[in-house]
């Protein structure tokens, strides 16, 4: 980008690219610069003045976040410019800024939720004077409503405007602003409307003080009481890296972890606030249906009932895995069913036409091949049958990011939804895919010329009766546009379920003429299948199961548990160690943060115990042994033109499978916070209509 420039930081000469800010240069040299308003992933505001450094010879200290190394000129004798971060000038400047910030900041740290993890607290300790000289009254600011997630305490606000910049730039909804001026400046939404972004919770992390805090977590715990467990999110197929904070047996909150390749440092509101769903509607002991009523049973009793059923005709049995399953439990269930001779297995509750026999296209046929970070390199993105804002807000923010920096054009075939960035709407249904290939001008022309074109196809296009045919159309388009090359693979499938890629990877799909989800349901209704094992599967139509005997293993009392004849209480994702493979095929470790509720057990252990009762003991005694049997499918040649099945597509328009972003899985449906969010967006949607 620009050539290297020499600069002298605290007597240490370093060489950095000229476009670096002084702050970056100082950090390169190992100096620590305090800051409030500056944030790596947001635009530079330069209004907190905490990052002042001394440029020897300059009349005043410089805001190091807003000045670049290129702006420095060398000393008169030709030596590189001297920057000091440890001089008396800098110390005095920092103390001055800190004193001004604290003039109007209340001394309510003991009752503030940010206490213990507050930038202002830390920096006041590190760089402040330690004593106040201010006797005048402090200003007080009215609280502002920002919706069910973000609690405000605006008297504490130091006007760094990080939240305003995040909501406008990353979340892409211009809803926050700084109104009035000077000492009356206040952060607010327009007429105190609720925030409508799916990423709004991130302003809580960004806020360097306690002005914006988590409403559901308010007054619940102190950061130093919490046990922190690094884990992986399962709310969508992104696999956001999270940190689960727990106290005793309770998950108290969920925070993001930094992973530049996946979620950067953001997480969606669903990921962040779903934890109250982990405390409600839990299955904490086995149940067996007697006289049409579910009654509590012992583990031995429940397993005996299940084992008896599973000793029947394997042709008349089926298993369906849900969207939140870890790979180990799916592998254990697959192995168990395999040993019984059951062939009707499926991990695709929505009937998506991906993976499995007939397609024969290895992993690439169902992966987000460019990787989430690959979006940054794309210069033309075609979205087919997907609404990433609803299905994977983190990926949507990434797409918005490349659009914002002017590097990508976006086209959509499918619903014309508000994605927070402008796009060319190229049609609504499968017929428009072929038509797009013939189009000239506009986005189509730019797509053909693009260096790194990208197609993102969603479950709205693939989980329909003609999904396989649509997949073929998309594959042919990808082949025609030469999207899959040696150095670039822009064929991307965006999943909606965290378990999906893992399930496909271990082959949790019908084998040897077995039935897929749709056929299992049809057969069950017709009475051809009389035992169905649901591993956390709640999204299928339970009424279609007919008179079948349903075994439900899962963590929440949702649709599956209501229909079940036997309930085996399992663990939610925060209660077990597990492997999850995200939509790009990245396998990540989730770790147990708290123990399963009541008598519930980790899911693979339940299946292991069941195999014992069945006298078909699975060949592993611990998680390590089980993991050793999990392998990725072997790499095979990938030809997008051979994906799916050829055939006629229907004219039906694509519709996103995610109709209510906040209520897509049993944990979210059990959460009161998610219900409030759903009601909030519902209100907005109705008002807009």
């Amino acid at each position: 980008m620009s050539e290297l420039r020499k600069v002298n930081v605290d007597g240490k000469e370093i060489e950095v690219p000229g476009h670096y800010t002084l702050m970056q240069a100082c950090e390169e040299a190992g100096a620590e610069i305090p800051r409030f308003c500056y944030h790596e992933r947001l635009s530079v505001a330069g209004n907190c003045r905490m990052c002042l450094v001394e440029w020897v010879g300059a009349p005043k200290p410089m805001a190091s976040c807003a000045m670049s190394v290129n702006d420095l000129r060398p000393n008169r004798d030709g030596t590189p410019a001297n920057i000091r971060t440890d001089s008396a000038v800098v110390k005095k400047a920092r103390e001055g800024v800190m004193e001004f910030l604290l003039i109007n900041h209340p001394l309510d740290c003991p009752i503030c939720d940010q206490g213990g993890e507050c930038d202002l607290q830390d920096q006041a300790m590190g760089y402040g004077r330690g004593r106040t000289r201010y006797d005048e009254p402090k200003r007080a600011v009215e609280e502002k409503n920002m919706g069910p997630l973000v609690k405000t305490n605006m008297t504490r606000c130091i006007q760094c405007t990080r939240c305003v910049r995040f909501i406008s730039e990353v979340a892409g909804v211009e809803e926050l602003g700084l109104v009035n001026r000077g000492e009356n400046a206040e952060i607010t939404t327009y007429l105190q409307a609720n925030l409508t972004s799916e990423l709004s919770g991130n302003v809580i992390d960004l806020c360097p003080v306690g002005a914006l805090t988590s409403r559901p977590y308010a007054f619940n715990a102190r950061p130093w009481e919490l046990v922190k467990t690094e884990s992986v999110d399962v709310m969508d197929a992104v696999g956001s890296n999270i940190r689960v904070d727990s106290r005793g047996s309770e998950v108290m909150r969920i925070l993001p972890r930094n992973n530049d390749d996946v979620n950067e440092e953001w997480i969606s509101d669903k990921t962040r606030f779903v934890w109250d769903g982990l405390k409600r509607q839990r299955l904490d002991k086995p149940f067996v249906r007697k006289n049409d009523k579910l009654v509590p049973a012992s583990w031995g009793e429940a397993l005996d009932v299940v084992a008896k059923r599973l000793k029947g005709d394997p042709e008349r049995m089926a298993a369906i895995a849900g969207d939140l399953c870890d790979m180990e439990s799916m592998k254990a269930l697959k192995d168990l069913m395999g040993s019984l001779g059951v062939t009707s297995l499926d991990c695709r509750q929505d009937g998506a036409a991906i993976g499995g026999q007939g397609n024969g296209q290895g992993r690439e046929g169902y992966l987000f091949n460019s990787g989430i970070a690959g979006i940054d390199k794309a210069d033309a993105i075609l979205l087919i049958g997907t609404n990433p804002r609803m299905e994977a807000p983190i990926i949507n923010a990434r797409i918005r990011g490349v659009w914002l920096h002017g590097e990508a054009d976006i086209g959509v075939i499918g619903q014309a939804a508000d994605l927070t960035y402008p796009y060319e709407h190229l049609g609504t249904g499968p017929a428009d895919i072929a038509a797009f290939a013939k189009k000239r001008g506009g986005f189509a022309a730019r797509f053909k010329k693009a260096k790194n074109p990208m197609i993102i196809v969603g479950m709205g296009a693939l989980s329909r009766p003609d999904g396989a045919q649509v997949l073929r159309e998309v594959g042919e388009l990808a082949a025609k546009m030469k999207i899959v090359r040696e150095d670039w693979n822009g064929f991307n499938v965006l999943h909606t379920a965290a378990a999906r890629v893992g399930g496909l990877d271990i082959g949790f799909i019908p084998t040897n003429g077995g039935k897929n989800t749709d056929d299992i349901l049809i057969a069950a209704k017709a009475g051809e299948i009389d035992t169905v094992y649901l591993l956390g599967a709640d999204e299928i139509d339970m009424s279609a199961l007919g008179k079948a005997f349903v075994i439900y293993q899962g963590s929440h009392g949702d649709a599956g548990a209501h229909r079940a004849d036997v309930i085996l209480p399992g663990a939610a994702y925060t209660e077990k160690d597990g492997l999850y493979t995200n939509t790009e095929g990245r396998m990540q470790d989730g770790f147990r943060s708290v123990f399963p509720k009541g008598e519930a057990r980790e899911d693979w252990a339940i299946l292991r115990a069941l195999s014992d009762t069945l006298e078909r003991t699975l060949p592993y005694d611990d998680l390590e042994g089980l993991r050793a049997t999990i392998r990725r499918p072997d790499a095979s040649a990938f030809d997008p033109a051979k994906l799916g099945k050829s055939g006629k597509v229907t004219g039906k328009a694509f519709a996103s499978p995610v109709t209510d972003h906040y209520l897509t899985n049993p944990i979210a449906r059990a959460s009161a916070v998610m219900a409030a969010c759903a009601a909030n967006t519902l209100g907005v949607r109705e008002a807009a209509e």
Binding site: G177, V179, N180
Partner: protein, 234 residues
């Protein structure tokens, strides 16, 4: 100084007047495509004039929608600049300059008149005619003290005021009588009271003292040659 807030009672809607509409178009056309939001301040100003001197919430929304801006961005601008009134004002908005020169020349008396006649600042007088506020320098210190009065006929300066002149001014405005803007004590613009005292010699202006110039300093040397002939090209 307390923070400025939107008025508690808001009208249901706002629409630009015919003239406001054409002015808005003129301002929007000044900016290149995609940069229409640059016209937010002129449009808010036009909207304020069309709305009886203050900005209602529907007016801000109208401006935002017209420029393709988020409403919060319009609110930010409208609350930042004190020239935008967020609450209804009287028929005449009186802005009394209270900065040092005016203060030394008696703006305190003007404020006293306002308080007596109208009431507290930023309130509407009982008859609905006036609202007054104190502002910083309006750039007419030479005619201090002064006020600016805004109404449907525009923004006018009334200068060289004293208590009596201010009383009369307010009385005339309230009665709907025509008032003359500028100095109220007989001065002509910023000349001394009673007329100019210097540079009054007529010969300064009638050319009687003119002398021919030998040369004009720094002027290019006049070419001695005649102008190039017509029709020749280089």
């Amino acid at each position: 100084m307390s923070g400025r807030h939107l008025a508690k009672e808001q009208p249901d809607s706002f629409a630009f007047s015919k003239e406001g509409e054409s002015q808005a178009k003129y301002w929007i056309a000044k900016y290149p495509d995609g940069k229409q939001r640059s016209a937010v301040i002129p449009l808010l100003w036009i909207a304020q004039k069309d709305n009886g001197g203050w900005l209602s919430e529907p007016a801000m929304r109208t401006v935002g929608d017209r420029l393709g801006m988020a409403h919060i961005r319009v609110l930010e601008v409208a609350t930042f600049y004190t020239m935008f009134k967020l609450e209804p004002v009287g028929e005449h908005l009186i802005q009394v300059c209270g900065t040092t020169p005016c203060m030394l020349r008696g703006s305190g008396d003007i404020i006293k008149v306002c308080k007596n006649r109208i009431g507290e600042k930023n309130t509407i007088s009982a008859d609905g005619k006036f609202t007054w506020e104190e502002v910083e320098c309006l750039g007419a210190c030479v005619n201090a003290p002064m006020v600016q009065i805004s109404n449907t006929s525009g923004d006018h300066y009334y200068e060289d005021l004293d208590e009596a002149a201010m009383e009369k001014l307010l009385g005339d405005l309230a009665a709907g009588k025509a008032v003359k803007d500028g100095p109220q004590n007989g001065r002509k613009t910023s000349e001394p009271l009673g007329g100019a005292l210097t540079l009054s010699d007529k010969s300064l202006y009638n050319g009687a003292r003119a002398k021919p110039l030998k040369s004009i300093p720094n002027a290019p040397k006049l070419a001695k040659k005649a102008a190039p002939k017509k029709g020749t090209k280089k």
